[in-house]
């Protein structure tokens, strides 16, 4: 990891992630400092969720590596990944956050006060006994935030925390995120609402399978960058050629079936543009792709 990792909460090195060899995140380099409040934005399919899942270890790295600093990770999945028909009370859902301290067997009794405080903080006081299936979307999201509070992690990852959530709940939850930021926690959030990002998030990673721009929010969210991100993410090619980009480890992909997610016209112009945040570590951008067709 080198010296940069000392103060870094997360470090990505030549990171490529994907499903079935189609890269969803491509050659990502950079570090997230401790205490940073970072928004991850980009079009649908840009790899935001994939990146967050890879950080928690749920998606394997095709190539490259993720360096994690000390301290626990907490992760907020997209709400539809949770089975809300299971008859579980709000209190029990929030108490899941205690796992790192209680494990499968130790009693949670002595931590009742912490659970109650977390539930109160997110504005769900009095809902402890309600089943999660009876909550509205906003209430359920508040309960998941209470679980994050209980987890008390140094790094918090939020995957589209405000999708389908009304303005008032969103405001409450953003206040909570800012409080975590004030407590020195590292927070990464995948988001869609640019106004929200501009208002509250000091730093932004604009992702479109690769880092289009990464840095101070105002410098990243320019019209030029955003339209570039839009073009990049549209290019998906079923028959894409092997990516010939050297990843700095000397093992280029060698299989003819390997895939490349970008259209030829998009990538010709788009060599990595590294801003101050991204190591200009690999200066070999020769592309050797067969002419690619756009998928249907």
């Amino acid at each position: 990891m080198g010296d940069a990792a000392v103060s870094a909460a997360l470090a990505f090195r030549h990171l490529t992630l994907g499903y079935d060899r189609h890269p969803a995140v491509h050659h990502l380099d950079g570090t997230v400092d401790r205490g940073e409040l970072l928004a991850i934005v980009g079009p649908n399919g840009a790899g935001k969720s994939t990146l967050l899942k890879a950080i928690v270890g749920d998606v394997p790295c095709l190539e490259g590596a993720i360096g994690r600093g000390d301290g626990a990770l907490a992760y907020l999945p997209q709400a539809d990944e949770i089975d809300r028909t299971f008859p579980l009370s709000v209190l029990d859902l929030v108490a899941m956050g205690l796992w790192s301290r209680t494990g499968p067997w130790r009693s949670q009794g002595s931590r009742r006060a912490a659970l109650a405080a977390a539930i109160e903080t997110v504005g769900l006081g009095g809902f402890e006994g309600r089943l999660i299936g009876t909550l509205s979307g906003g209430q359920f999201q508040r309960a998941l935030f209470a679980r994050l509070i209980v987890q008390d992690a140094a790094v918090i990852l939020l995957d589209e925390p405000f999708r389908g959530i009304d303005a008032r709940t969103t405001d409450d939850l953003i206040r909570l995120i800012l409080r975590w930021h004030g407590e020195g926690r590292t927070v990464l959030a995948a988001l869609h609402d640019m106004a929200q990002v501009r208002a509250h998030f000091p730093r932004t990673l604009l992702l479109a399978r690769e880092a289009v721009a990464w840095g101070a929010t105002a410098a990243v969210l320019t019209p030029a960058n955003l339209s570039r991100a839009g073009r990049l993410s549209e290019a998906w090619d079923e028959t894409a050629a092997v990516c010939g980009r050297d990843d700095g480890h000397g093992h280029a992909h060698d299989d003819a079936q390997d895939t490349e997610a970008q259209g030829a016209e998009a990538q010709g112009a788009e060599a990595h543009r590294h801003d101050d945040r991204i190591h200009a570590g690999h200066g070999h951008h020769h592309h050797d792709h067969a002419p690619a067709r756009k998928a249907g």
């Binding site: 089975d83 790192s100 499968p104």
Partner: protein, 288 residues
């Protein structure tokens, strides 16, 4: 009424043994069934119960109607099919329910064929539908052992098992327990099906596992209510099923499962949580 319910058990030793066997099964199988139902794996357990058959049949061919041999064969076959189905699901595009259906059809046909090669029609009927009135000491000890292991393991994995059901991704982010917990649970399913096979046969073994669990859904809303309610339903079904079988001279296994089925239909009609009667009587809604 209570006299005719209890008389056969007071009078005959084999009825008492049958009752003890069914009650032990009623304590261990329904909690497993509750989790199967909540994980939407009800049909999967049905498939697993058929998957036990070729193992039982192999034990039968090797050692005749010997309980240990058939039990061991059933356990082995059930675990192999569960693992194979999981492996096929993880490595191919086939979903778990489809791959299980494929495996259990193969297993069921193979098992029936194996038994027919060696045994009589009566043996086949005995294995398919069980013989709860012929439980011997060995069988009772086995059922007791299965119940003990089931309850201890359930208690040990309860918390991660619930998390695995609700939010598997969360469990994966905080612990590696997800995989082992899933397989431990599948092991419990197989064990209880093998236990059920002693009493109810391979085809109906699932009856005392699932019917009480589904019945409980109409009476309780969360796990602390569902599990006791399901056990209670299984106990009532065992008792009334055996008594009915005695008085009306019915085969005992189907009578028990039908009694459990009757409880289910009754709950469907009058159960306080989603029962049909409670839908007809519409109470005025609350203010908030």
């Amino acid at each position: 009424m209570s006299e005719s319910l209890l008389a056969p058990f007071l009078e005959f030793g084999f009825m008492r043994r049958a009752l003890v066997g069914c009650l032990v099964l009623s304590v261990s199988a329904p909690p497993v069934g509750v989790f199967l139902m909540l994980r939407r794996m009800s049909l999967m357990s049905e498939a697993m119960s058929h998957a036990i058959l070729p193992g039982v049949a192999t034990g039968f061919i090797v050692a005749g109607l010997s309980l240990p041999a058939m039990t061991f064969g059933g356990l082995a076959a059930g675990l192999v099919v569960a693992l194979l189905a999981a492996a096929v699901t993880r490595t191919t595009m086939v979903r778990e329910d489809a791959s299980l259906a494929a495996f259990y059809l193969i297993a069921l046909a193979g098992g029936v064929l194996l038994i027919s090669l060696r045994g009589s029609q009566l043996d086949l009927l005995h294995i398919l539908f069980g013989n709860v009135l012929a439980l011997d000491d060995g069988a009772l000890v086995l059922l007791g052992g299965i119940a003990t292991v089931t309850l201890v393991v359930m208690a040990a994995i309860f918390r991660p098992l619930v998390m695995e059901c609700v939010d598997p991704l969360f469990l994966r982010t905080v612990s590696r327990a997800g995989g082992p917990v899933h397989f431990a649970f599948l092991g419990l399913v197989v064990m209880n099906l093998v236990g059920g096979f002693q009493a109810l046969g391979t085809l109906l073994a699932v009856g005392l596992m699932l019917l009480p669990a589904v019945t409980a859904r109409f009476w309780a809303s969360d796990l602390t209510g569902l599990i006791p309610a399901s056990i209670l339903a299984a106990v009532v079904a065992s008792l009334s099923g055996l008594a009915l079988a005695y008085h009306l001279d019915l085969p005992a296994g189907p009578a028990i499962v039908l009694a459990a089925g009757g409880l289910y239909v009754l709950s469907l009609l009058i159960g306080p949580r989603g029962g049909l009667a409670h839908r007809l009587i519409r109470r005025r809604h609350l203010e908030a």
